[in-house]
């Protein structure tokens, strides 16, 4: 039996047929309102059944308003999409947590919190950040709408087996540095195309030390390094998170599941197609300066000079980015004024993220030049945060406390950053126009976003003491 990587072990367990590419069985299919309508329609028009409604779950997240759910009715096109989702789920017998319901939230937040995301599973969704679920030792990746229809009809996907990449992070994170800073550093190091064609397994002491929320943040952004997905082998931290959760096995089933999950690790002699090694202790709080997540720098640092880049395409891209961002080379990152702060998204919208941000702002006030909002990742997160009084901490500081949704990460619901202004966002993409036409996004950790809101310019939490 040859040595296998974790990815190969899980993959091989799910192969139904091999022909040009593997036919992979899908253990869980997540749906949201934006990438499923055409798939349901295709199913209906071809007269096919949804094969496994019991392995399918839906929520509304991309399009939902976060201020007041009745606002959805004002946007005809958006409202139609949300109504259609309810009708489709009723017709095909799919579990749905729509806007306004207790279990609603960002699809990659509700899966894990419900205990649906478990080690060794194959999980897909019409959304690239499906990679988030890889934190549990699952193969989880984003797919297009045609593939969503294929999974609905067959509960399988025809996929070429991905190559494997090991990203090993040695050492420990500094006390002032978070999982978000780490993953930005990783993308900066390997490049936004560095992981293309691969599935990244994150390994090493630093990764082991991360909480589940931290692991989800790191896996979430594997896609920004060009990888199909990222995953982390399950361990005691994973088991502690899972045990007792609603849809997690109990009793005898738990014991057998754990027995299997303990085999889910890369064999000693297994070979990866690509390898990268980083040292965690060299990473500090990060902020992106450009228009892709790889264009990142230490918050203590300066906007880089494109002329210092030797590769012509890279230099041209950096020049273009600085032009869009309205930034001069050599500007201190901490001199960049920020007028919008967004804390939320599938990257950093969990309770742990909100707690961390709340600690930074407790007893302080948001700068008068800043509009700051906190969008909890799910209704469950929102309720738990309110039980802990976090909403009051944010409210007293001058933050808006919103309802759950993707919100300002993608700006589909009207939560946008104004043209030509700079935002500090705990989301995952700073592409041109991502958060609004002409929006200038700086990706940061929740702690840094909180500190930035107080200071009115890019800042790390340490700057407040």
């Amino acid at each position: 039996m040859r040595a296998k990587t974790l990815v190969e072990k899980i993959w091989d367990e799910h192969v139904v047929d091999q022909n040009d590419a593997d036919l992979l069985y899908i253990d869980l299919h997540l749906l949201h309102e934006v990438t499923s309508p055409q798939a349901f329609e295709g199913l209906r028009m071809s007269g096919r059944k949804l094969r496994r409604p019991d392995l399918t779950i839906a929520t509304a997240d991309h399009d939902v308003p976060t201020e007041d759910v009745s606002l959805a009715l004002q946007d005809d096109i958006g409202a139609r999409q949300l109504q259609l989702q309810i009708a489709n789920c009723r017709e095909f017998g799919v579990e749905l947590h729509p806007m306004g319901s207790a279990g609603q939230g960002i699809v990659h937040v509700i899966g894990p919190e419900m205990g649906l995301t478990q080690p060794g599973m194959t999980i897909v969704c019409g959304d690239s950040h499906t990679a988030t679920h890889g934190a549990f030792g699952a193969i989880a990746f984003g797919i297009g709408t045609s593939q969503v229809e294929h999974v609905m009809a067959t509960q399988t996907l025809r996929m070429a087996k991905p190559r494997t990449m090991a990203v090993t992070v040695d050492g420990r994170l500094r006390p002032d540095t978070t999982a978000k800073d780490l993953v930005l550093s990783i993308i900066g190091a390997i490049g936004i195309g560095g992981g293309t064609g691969t599935l990244i397994e994150y390994r090493g002491e630093c990764i082991r030390a991360l909480s589940m929320a931290g692991r989800m943040t790191v896996c979430n952004m594997a896609i920004e390094a060009g990888a199909r997905s990222g995953l982390i082998a399950p361990d005691e931290t994973t088991l502690a998170y899972l045990e007792g959760r609603p849809r997690v096995p109990k009793g005898d089933q738990w014991a057998r599941a754990v027995g299997y999950w303990q085999t889910l690790c890369t064999d000693q002699d297994a070979v990866f197609d690509v390898e990268a090694v980083l040292d965690a202790s060299s990473v500090g709080p990060q902020a992106t300066w450009g228009t892709n997540p790889g264009q990142t720098v230490n918050i203590e640092g300066k906007v880089p000079d494109p002329l210092a880049l030797s590769e012509p395409a890279e230099r041209a891209a950096a020049q273009r980015a600085l032009e869009y961002m309205g930034l001069e080379p050599g500007t201190a990152m901490k001199d960049i004024p920020i007028s919008t702060v967004f804390i939320g998204s599938c990257t950093n919208g969990r309770l742990e993220d909100l707690r961390a941000a709340a600690e930074v702002v407790r007893g302080r006030r948001v700068a008068s030049t800043v509009r700051a909002l906190v969008v909890p990742g799910s209704m469950r997160v929102k309720r738990q945060a309110e039980q802990e009084g976090l909403d009051e901490v944010f409210h007293s500081a001058g933050f808006e406390w919103r309802l759950p949704g993707c919100s300002m990460c993608i700006g589909m619901n009207g939560d946008v950053v104004m043209p030509g202004t700079h935002s500090a966002s705990t989301s995952n993409r700073n592409f041109e126009g991502r958060q609004g036409v002409g929006a200038r996004t700086h990706l940061v950790s929740p702690e840094s976003a909180a500190a930035t809101a107080i200071m009115g310019h890019l800042a790390a939490a340490a700057d407040l003491t």
Binding site: L23, I143, Q155
Partner: protein, 208 residues
């Protein structure tokens, strides 16, 4: 689905790396529930500039897009492919594609042509210099040619599964449903502890 044996046409050279799907189609277009009608959303932001290449009259009718590396990175939105298709593109030539986008293209009958950087550079230059330059993509043999670029039957990468489907015009779901017995067999042997969903539309605000 119609078989795609070859794509022959004039090209649009877009010599930029890392063109993400937010540039190809802004997120607001994802509110549409139909699969068609996305042409106006294609590179919508860039097209606001009158000087942008798609706005040049001599470029009208081009059916091939030539782009830089990592084309289609970012969001998985298949709407990006629908916009390319509705606008009139039938093939994209690039040194590399983001995985999800590369998979989305053939599912809509468009050909992702992964060519060597040298070939892409030659095609890009020829097309930039001459809007009438014609490129011939032989999907069956997986070679690309362009007289003006001095490129003659240069091999390109197209994965076997996509190749098979495109040249035979096969519906992927029909193909997979032929394996219903094998799928059922796998289902019968899945571990019993795996989680399941309840099939209920949870409209009320009580905990669920």
């Amino acid at each position: 689905m119609q078989a795609v044996l070859s794509v022959t046409g004039r090209a649009i050279p877009l010599d930029r790396p890392n063109i993400d799907t937010d540039q190809i189609i802004p997120a607001v277009w994802m509110k549409k529930i139909e699969r068609v009608g996305f042409a106006d959303g294609l590179f919508q932001k860039w097209r606001r500039d009158p000087a942008f290449i798609l706005n040049q009259p001599e470029r009208r009718g081009a059916s091939i897009l030539i782009a830089g590396p990592n084309f289609g990175c970012g969001s998985s939105r298949e709407h990006a492919v629908w916009a390319l298709r509705d606008y009139g593109f039938r093939a994209i030539i690039a040194p590399s594609f983001a995985d999800i986008h590369r998979n989305n293209l053939p599912n809509n009958g468009l050909v992702p042509v992964v060519s060597s950087p040298v070939v892409v550079e030659a095609l890009m230059a020829a097309s930039a210099a001459d809007a009438t330059a014609e490129i011939v993509i032989d999907v069956v043999r997986r070679v690309v040619s362009c007289e003006q670029a001095g490129v003659h039957e240069a091999e390109f990468f197209l994965d076997d599964a996509a190749h098979h489907r495109l040249i035979n015009g096969l519906d992927l779901i029909d193909m997979t449903l032929l394996l219903d017995r094998q799928i059922s067999n796998h289902e019968a042997h899945r571990p019993d502890w795996l989680p399941s969903c309840d099939g209920v539309v949870h409209l009320s605000p009580t905990a669920g």
